[in-house]
């Protein structure tokens, strides 16, 4: 137990003993993980945003003049079964009349003597779709149904939004891969350098009769602490930026940046893993 306590305290003390190299390593972990974390948050929020926007996609299906409310309800049941459709809302001929009156202030039945407005329904699409939503096949299917007269939808706007979302997803994915590789290289090299600077220590400990494990443990703990501190600081900075951003966003646009704690856990886990693996490989190399 005394030996283990000594090795753990050595890992902690080494951070203090080699302040400059520790700060360099922590800083590089901090910067790279802050970038990665930011990209995760951007991806996640663009995903939330697209889900929100998809709830606003509105498809209005107008039934033919002779279609009764009951028939309209049946057609709507068929529409609901089409993949990609989340919900449907029926607007009966009477509802249409009321809406017309609310909007235009005219009682059309009093003028014409009958209700010329057709029954219709509003179709909402499924917002949780992994890829971009192509609304055209859905529209074609609805149009091909018997009793359907006209389908109105914001085709161009939906295409623009979906294309923009696709560009963000693609761009961020490429950026994440590049930064991830850079992170691995930077963290690995920084930790390699900190260990390289302590080759003498490794040699002296070996000559004094230390086993490889005795030499490795403090180095690995030091590397893990560096990863942990760097990732922790990156996490605090990221949450801080999100909070600060939310204060303004809520005031100006009534929006909030969402933050999933899983991102934090991934960041910390990733930093520790890279630090541990690099530390292990490098110390083993110098011990050989």
């Amino acid at each position: 137990m005394d030996k283990l306590a000594f090795l753990i305290s050595e890992g902690v003390r080494n951070l203090w003993r080699h302040k400059l190299t520790a700060i360099t390593a922590i800083f590089s972990v901090f910067i790279t993980l802050f970038l990665i974390g930011s990209l995760f948050v951007i991806t996640q929020n663009s995903h939330y945003l697209i889900e929100y926007l998809r709830t606003k996609y509105k498809i209005e299906v107008f039934f033919k003049a002779g279609v009764t409310n009951e028939q309209a309800r049946k057609i709507m049941g068929v529409i609901k079964e089409i993949p990609g459709v989340r919900s449907t809302t029926l607007i009966t001929k009477e509802d249409a009349l009321r809406i017309f009156k609310d909007q235009f202030g005219e009682d059309i039945v009093a003028i014409l003597g009958y209700n010329p407005l057709p029954a219709s329904c509003v179709v909402n699409i499924n917002r949780k779709q992994p890829d971009s939503v192509d609304i055209r096949p859905l529209i074609s299917k609805i149009k091909s149904l018997d009793g359907v007269d006209q389908v109105n939808y914001q085709g161009r706007l939906i295409r623009r939004i979906e294309n923009f979302y696709q560009k963000i997803v693609r761009g961020v994915s490429i950026a994440v891969i590049i930064i991830l590789l850079l992170t691995i290289i930077i963290i690995a090299n920084t930790i390699k350098l900190t260990i390289h600077a302590k080759q003498d220590l490794i040699k002296i400990l070996k000559l004094l009769g230390a086993t490889n494990l005795f030499i490795k443990i403090p180095f690995l703990l030091e590397a893990i602490f560096q990863g942990l501190i760097g990732a922790g600081l990156a996490l605090v900075a990221l949450v801080g930026v999100i909070h600060a951003g939310n204060t303004y966003l809520e005031k100006l646009f009534h929006m909030r940046i969402q933050y999933d704690p899983v991102v934090g856990a991934i960041m910390v886990g990733f930093a520790i893993l890279i630090a541990f693996l690099t530390g292990y490989r490098t110390v083993t190399k110098y011990l050989a």
């Binding site: 005394d2 030996k3 306590a5 000594f6 002296i204 070996k206 004094l208 009769g209 086993t211 005795f214």
Partner: protein, 186 residues
Amino acid sequence: MIGPTGSGKTTIMKLIYMDLYPDSGKIVILGTNVAKLKRRKIPFLRRRIGMIFQDYHLLNDRNLFENVAIPLHIIGIPRNEVEERVYRILEEVGLTNKEKQYPEELSGGEQQRACIARALIKDPEIILADEPTGNLDPIASFELVNLLEQINREGTAILMASHNYNLIKGRGHPIIEMRDGKLRNG
């Protein structure tokens, strides 16, 4: 062990503490044939040997106390016993009250004494001293050899390599000479 610079004294030392492996021949240290010793067992053999180097090999980022205590931590001695043994050994080598100082704050002679303390603290069966006076002035060298003699008198075998024959002659210890890669009685 005497011999001119470059005659192979350090090589002999390294072969003994297994920093080098012999191409041929047989080395038996503390009853162990090193050729048959598995690599993972080397640390345990080294724990039975105290080593003193010309350039001290102290760790500059640790104070004197921490430097001297390292071998005890390697063996796994309890913390309270470590403290007691370090203070005792520092007193023995004449470094009392210097335990908080860092190697660079000590003189050459003091650093070499620290190195002796570190070698001695684990009660080794033999001490290997490779040119321990190589970086010291004549007075410090003389004092150091006296200290090693005292340790030897207390029961620890010492193999000291030096090119300074004048420093060790006439002290009544067996002398072997290294010349042209061969050992012979001096």
